[in-house]
Symmetry: D3
Subunit: 313 residues, 6 copies
């Protein structure tokens, strides 16, 4: 169960409204790697967790903190949308001919033309659960697999991309209020990258998971292909990297560089289609059209059915 | 530019058709963490890469290999769909009353009822660019940020989840052909987890990126919040983890456990709305309805516009 | 800011696992009118609220309660997925010919075939942020417009559909644990329907909004069409309803039944297309193909540009 | 079956083209609460209706009218896109250095940069089945549940949000043609709000449904929780509303304000995972890696299967 | 404007309910190539049409007919869902251990498990605007470009795929009612394929469009690449087709088979990244971390700005 | 299996960066009819192909070529995004009042405001797998049915729309580099329209398919409706087209113009609803509320179940 505290975790209002920046900032709120994603990802991982209590508790701690981050960004966006202009300048367009090709002449027109229209028509000056192009947040953005190592790597990835985006947005404004707020978010994401790196270390040090996840892969996988780098692109620059030579990161093998990879499988030839699907097969079906011919098809199917135990239905 | 080689990279056909398993196997082909995702993710990262040549070449090597993995799975699914039953048993349902509540009585009926209907009606027995629930693959599944460390962490995450899913699907069949094929895929994913771990090491060892990505976060972020763990969920089990004590993973600080976190921000109070948006504000607009009242609104807006340089349009 | 309390708001575990029911129950969790929707809808309405404090506080109260409902359903689904079968019966399919058309013969096969495959491969036995067909929850499911009357009507609608679905799911199981849990949810939805009806009454009684929302519609709309029912479908049964006669619900007019509605507008004829878009217009462009002809087009565009102030770019 | 009449229900062309406004107006056409939504919602409700004839007829009347509203908006948008500029001003960018950072200097450039690009490249100057951000209309936007009270509340909500958006768009233009057209739409939405309020009254007065829908909720729900308001957010401003005191709107109880809500459920602890899913459980699986260890897992599964009737497959 | 006629264009009810078939039949209603698609595609093409009147009228004729086809399928699906079972057999699962792995033993259980759950919980036994996997219809499914030849080819494609699916569904049932209904739909699709072929002929014979659309492609395209077939896949079987030899279909050239295609472009090397985006470039940024180093970056940016007219903002 | 060649198939870099044009060009890369669509469409058709080898090989040839086209466009977009401005001009907005409504005054501001924000924040100056509105590419964009004639018509449609869009984008720029590149793409699309027309001819000439696809439609469809044009829209302009008179294109009939089409079906009346779904039926359920009444419902259901063999579950 959850409780809400009215004060925000941290908040500095913007110095001035900026609807264009509000549009861009939606990426951190509702983008595929924004705060709604980490909030939902950590909460679902916590709710689905079957591991030791400290992991489950930690996931719910940070998931709960992230609800508050969504709250902060929603509030920031509402401030940035204050006094957003609604329509383009009409003075310059009184003349009908000019008007036909005219959009506006002042900075407000740029804003009106380029802001997310839904920030006015749909949300009435509030935040939206969407990214910076207006695309809605969706549940396929999150990962909660039940395997904590796989999931912590997902979390590290999400925090790395999220911090990168926060830094880029920091560079994209000079508003001291916004920058102060983002300084807080950037610090928390810094913590969270450290946190997931530490959590990964913990899982491995406690023997709950191994470098390659899940560890049963060693048992099921064909070992001869488990450490080869296949050079599928012309040139061998890729042979210069750590991934192409030396011991593998799991300490169980040596990287092998396959410079001229050759196919190991056959040329596939799919079975001929069920006549009832009307796929194009190797021989003509078109000649079979007409009452008579189609009865032949029916008979063929019947025969196949009769010779097939459990046969065609 | 790309070339195609007719033979598959590796292929073992299934021992027998299994349309239900074909439905499930679509997850590895078109799921959010399946082969289409890694194929597109590595290709876009490669095409967008502005880093050293060995990284770009390596990304295009593995991206090109993954096109071949999509090919393998598409071929496997077509084989698994061969001879899929099309309709439910009609013998048992001749009696109209029974028929009204009757679905079928034999194993073929289970298949017909539960397989992905589009595997018959839409693809005619072929693979679909969709996941195991029929949801289509989409471009928001991939990450290509231009920052290689952030992206390699995304790649490590994708290969970890993908391998986990491949192993689960391995457990879900006894078909020796399918299992042999998955043994190859599992081995390649094992390699790819090792590969991304090695590539991360390489990036850091060459000084191109640091533990926290992007490194400018240290400059922009508020250091006082950069190493704190906030305990937002009742109970302190989360204090037992490595993420709550000891040196941080970037070697720049000490984890700090904040057991009773308090808000640092104010209670937000949004500005009153633009009257032209018809949000509900703190005072009634309803009394203003009607010709007279609405003229008052117009005048107020006019006045605001006049006293505001550049004012309300 | 938010806090988490480890105990659930209410919880009764199911008597037994039931993966098929878990699939169906996802509708209440991640469906377009499920708990994720009301949770996000109330939180965004609260965060975007510019109205009196009691409304904002109330919205955040109920939004916070709904996070806990998502938590309850996620937990219930994880229990229902416990011991879900992973693969179909292989004994019956040893014979290769039988196997070709065979799916399974026992109840476990039905479950394995028909459950949401992602409940095994993707979430490892946990809940998904998706509906009962596997379609992910998305941000377009919610409404937060800034106008409280419009939004409270959205809330009433969401709680009405949600309760209807909860009741249907109650009828679809005999598991006493699940039914006990749903009895709690049904009671809360009963409250919430009452709550939004009361909140609508409050808004109107305080003069913040009127029956028709937004009230400025009376000023902008053409009154002659504001109370007419147009009979666009053959037959006049629709004339028998309350919506076709008597005083309108806003107390400002009388419903009027237009039995034989006639169009009031012209037959539209769109302007001819810009030649650079290559739409099909009323005269042939095909004759203009070739070097010579296309230069004619260029010249025509030039001329149009020159006679048009600000002209074609 | 449907018939088309060439004249529009109502139409006033715009005074002048305005591609930016065309982009915004798409919200009323293809937005989640636009005309495509109400058209499809009323038609599906009508087609699925099993209630008295007057309701079914009324739903098909208004659904059919709404097809005509989609037609009107599509026509309006095509007019607004006439003579839309296609490319940015090149005169100012002849100098290569300037050009590198240059976008354009006149109002036409603002339009070209900010209009929906698909209005030129994809639709060739025509309307799109999408909202104002370019997001396509989709079937999850509509509600047709079979329960008329629940559905009429959905309809009231859709008309309320739709009218609010129409009014906002009315404020966002000075084009007298567009405003005249919107005056018609606003009037029809005014009617439709009245209509659904009247239809709700009718359903209840005829005893087909009761205040809380569906009425069986009283039978299934736990009465003790059916009238409580839970104060989940700090502060008790929410206690001042009508929803927290006095008789409930269904006349069956009294609202009760729970100022300090406490959880009623247990702390959940999920069952340990199936070893074949490779979730992280409370004890290490990593130690079990290798041929020998994994055989142990197999045996454990076998034993569990044997002691479980119907057991693990 | 549109009118509705209560009688259906054609209708034969099913002999008996069949919820599994209802799920599959949704493909024809709400699939990407189903009736909702052709309905919307033809209506939008008609509304956006700027060509001769007979084309616009024809598009609106067939678009209007297709609304009636959606109506027919919605009605058929509601009949097929009548008496759909709601829950699985409980008799066999009284024993808790058996129950844990038990799903059901009779045909009704198969139906309950495999039908689209939303057909019960969401639509209450009615049709959904979705395809056979439950994925919602959306606006990106349709094409309306303004160019009639391009659009008529889209229409021919849609009718070809739609008829193919209708035939497959015809084969998937023995219900005489359903088959009779589909015989009507199949005939109409037969007409519509003929219709679009005829309309394409008409457009070309009237000189409104030429074989290659749009005809200006001849002017803009590099002629040397306009008739070459590039053999990008090993083996030369593709050289045996009509597309690799003989006169081209537009009568303007000869097909040329390029057996060993070679790249004509350079190896791309992207410009080094803007330092403010924190992409990984060819040289280390990591060394620049810290107050001092980052000031250097700032200065570099300043210098670049100063030497760039209009410079970095 | 696939191989990558570092050189591009063809490439001319742009003369200068243009982030607005980069946004628009995304339509050709990730739009519903862009290069990702044809790439995936041809590859899936090739992988699923069960027809003669020359068709399969040809599909994989062109699918492989299209991967290279995606590569070209991704590279072009990265060049166009070089030096994209990141933030709006701050000089003009020092004054807080002006700042409140100020957006920017120079051309760079237009770019910053109107470019796709994700081109900076998400991709760091690289291409995205999305269209020109930012909507992601998805798998429902492609068609691969197994029937080659139906699929080749889909391919012809895709190449026609794609070429139309390429031509429009050609008109929308004066950059000589971009135009040169598009001249190559336009030529290839010219080839591909010719190619699919030739491939259609080949299929028919070899008797693999007939004009109407699939040919079995003649057997299943009601011949009396297979050649009628129904005039569903007022006016008879549509009677003037080739589709309304003369021999049908399949040579099997004569087009017939039905000027006053009448419905052939009945007025539908759906069966009354299952009481457990709580749909609104023709008689009141509301009177049945309460312990007693609901027991009556239960009994009725029981009775129905008992008299129904296999009965209600």
């Amino acid at each position: 169960m959850f409780y809400h505290q009215k004060q925000l975790q941290y908040f500095t209002p913007p110095e001035r409204p900026d609807p264009i920046y509000a549009k861009k900032l939606q990426e951190l709120l509702g983008g595929s790697l924004g705060e709604m994603t980490v909030m939902m990802q950590y909460l679902f991982q916590g709710w689905n967790c079957r591991g030791p209590a400290k992991y489950k508790d930690m996931l719910l701690d940070i998931g709960t903190e992230e609800i508050g981050h969504v709250e902060i960004l929603a509030t920031m966006i509402a401030y940035l949308l204050d006094k957003a202009p609604l329509k383009m300048q009409e003075e310059g367009v009184k003349d009908p001919v000019v008007g036909a090709v005219m959009g506006g002449t002042n900075p407000r027109d740029v804003i009106t033309a380029a802001m997310n229209p839904q920030h006015a028509t749909v949300s009435g000056g509030g935040a939206l659960p969407a990214d910076s192009t207006g695309f809605p947040w969706n549940g396929r953005f999150i990962v909660a697999s039940g395997n904590l190592l796989a999931d912590f790597r997902s979390n590290l990835h999400a925090e790395s991309q999220g911090l990168l985006q926060a830094v880029r947005l920091y560079e994209m404004t000079d508003d001291r209020g916004v920058r102060d707020q983002l300084s807080f978010n950037i610090a928390r994401d810094t913590m969270h990258q450290n946190q997931w790196l530490a959590a990964i270390e913990e899982l491995e040090s406690e023997g709950l998971e191994t470098t390659v996840v899940p560890s049963v892969a060693y048992q099921y996988g064909k070992r001869e292909f488990a450490y080869q780098f296949w050079n599928q692109s012309e040139g061998e620059e890729s042979g210069q990297g750590r991934w192409a030579k030396g011991p593998t990161k799991d300490g169980r093998g040596e990287f092998e560089y396959v410079a001229n990879p050759q196919p190991l499988g056959p040329e596939p030839e799919l079975p001929q289609p069920d006549p009832r699907l009307h796929d194009t097969g190797k021989i003509s079906q078109a000649g079979q059209v007409g009452e008579a011919a189609s009865k032949v098809v029916d008979k063929v199917v019947d025969v196949i059915d009769r010779v097939t135990p459990g046969g065609h239905q």
